[in-house]
Symmetry: C2
Subunit: 308 residues, 2 copies
């Protein structure tokens, strides 16, 4: 396979606290800022606490979900008196580490998230980007304590709504299970290890190493399933079934139990075989998502190296 | 041992949503209210969603922690324009299912809570009350899926600050781990089973059964340990160590690691052997509690039966 080349990397942003109650990124940003980390080898590093007001009150967001504000339309919308705090902040971040889609944007943007779902460590990304996928492959080879998975959202970059879409390359690191508002040492250390490996990879890349061709698996989002709800009040009437709870990425097949109602009835799955993820994620109750379903895909990566 | 007698039980309150983001009780109250459960055998049952405004926004509380408002001093304090919502609500609940310390108060008050700590199912109570302790012993004999533990807070009832202190007898059912804002079917079913057993016990008691003498263990609170903090900003500088995380009720001994700082240093325990609980409870970050420490005690129960 012919190798693909990318320019030297000069600027990276690492972000946390995009959701103010996802504590791994919050404490990691505070730590990196206290240690005044602004350079790793030849790469300038910006550490960004994305939503300081939400962090202050330990909530996902103050007025609207910041991590849904990074579409091109929203980033370019005029600011008025009624513009929510998070949209103003998204435009501020876009000026600071973007602008999205421009040559001034950071070369790589990593955004750290937590989930209450038992998802281990996942990279979430939009387009099929050989650069991100080579980092994934590297992390899979280096991290022995956890299975590193990849989730692909098939959305054009202009409509991509989350912070990582502002970088030339970018991904979210999504790690769980961790309750909102809580920091767990095991998860903190897992993310710290992943970030250290990413920085090692960047330095190897910049120094001219070729990363050989290979294959990776990813999960591509197919659809989302809502909780059973009371049609009048909208309140949920069933919880995720114990056989699905904590079983993210285990193939769901027709007839498998998915919900248990509060009066004791089981609801079974009745569709094609797919992989559930974000099972019982706290923040998705309001988004009407009990879990997502994905198809597994295999991607063949070309070798990559730095340009010239 | 001479038997102790208590009057017939005519009225019980079961409460949930005292903390608006602890979902087991919230969904259980909604379910019981939908099913119009108001009597079990000869016992009148009040189902109470304690903090509806906090439930609505899925937060622990709106203005102040409701479950710290039930001291006699606060319940009898005058209401002014600046009285927080939760203190007004506490006085309202006290009128409805109390008043605390009066003969009108419900015979038994059960308040359902969740914790992010790995505590299994615990009954929390104030004074040494043979009635509550016999229910504990009964639950321990009936529930096979979980170890049922008891936590005693040695506080005079007039200063007892939580909702269960409003009943003639009362206890909190504290169950975890469950993230705030999330309902897990396994935990919901565990609490439902416990509540069903309590109601069976009440009916056996009212029908004249004698509950024989016996022994139970309980954990009595000794002190609380805060996180290491930055002395200037007050921000925590370490997480619970992985060896302590999820190990509630496992004896902590001198030299055991308790914290891991965000720069990698381990802090060790340096005090008498005690039992940790509420390890890494989300809501206790703001209360400056990383974990509580308890001593184990053994209590010998007299036989009990209904009066007359």
């Amino acid at each position: 396979m012919e190798s693909v080349s990318f320019p030297l990397l000069s600027r990276v942003a690492i972000c946390g606290g995009t959701h103010g109650n996802e504590m791994t990124g919050v404490y990691m940003m505070r730590h990196l800022q206290k240690e005044k980390i602004d350079k790793i080898g030849s790469v300038a590093v910006s550490t960004v606490l994305s939503n300081p007001r939400a962090v202050e009150v330990c909530r996902r967001y103050v007025e609207t979900d910041l991590n849904r504000c990074f579409t091109e339309a929203l980033l370019n919308s005029p600011v008025t008196d009624s513009t929510p705090y998070e949209l103003r902040r998204a435009q501020e971040l876009n000026a600071q580490i973007g602008p999205k889609g421009s040559k001034e944007a950071v070369d790589l943007l990593i955004d750290i998230h937590n989930t209450t779902s038992n998802m281990g460590l996942c990279l979430i990304f939009y387009s099929i980007d050989w650069f991100t996928l080579h980092i994934l492959k590297y992390l899979q080879s280096k991290m022995t304590s956890v299975e590193v998975r990849a989730i692909q959202l098939d959305i054009p970059i202009s409509e991509a709504y989350s912070l990582e879409s502002v970088g030339k390359h970018g991904f979210a690191i999504e790690v769980g299970p961790q309750p909102n508002g809580v920091v767990r040492a095991d998860i903190y250390n897992m993310v710290k290890e992943a970030v250290d490996h990413v920085f090692s990879w960047l330095q190897e890349f910049n120094s001219g190493s070729t990363f050989e061709e290979g294959e990776v698996e990813a999960y591509t989002l197919v659809k989302s399933i809502d909780y059973p709800r009371n049609p009048v009040t909208g309140e949920i009437t069933a919880a995720i079934h114990s056989q699905l709870q904590d079983n993210d990425f285990k193939l769901l097949q027709r007839g498998d139990p998915i919900f248990l109602s509060f009066s004791g009835e089981t609801v079974k799955y009745d569709d094609e075989d797919l992989y559930p993820f974000f099972v019982n994620e706290c923040a998705y109750y309001e988004k009407k998502i009990a879990f997502h379903l994905a198809r597994k895909i295999k991607l063949t990566l070309p070798p990559i190296k730095v340009t010239g």
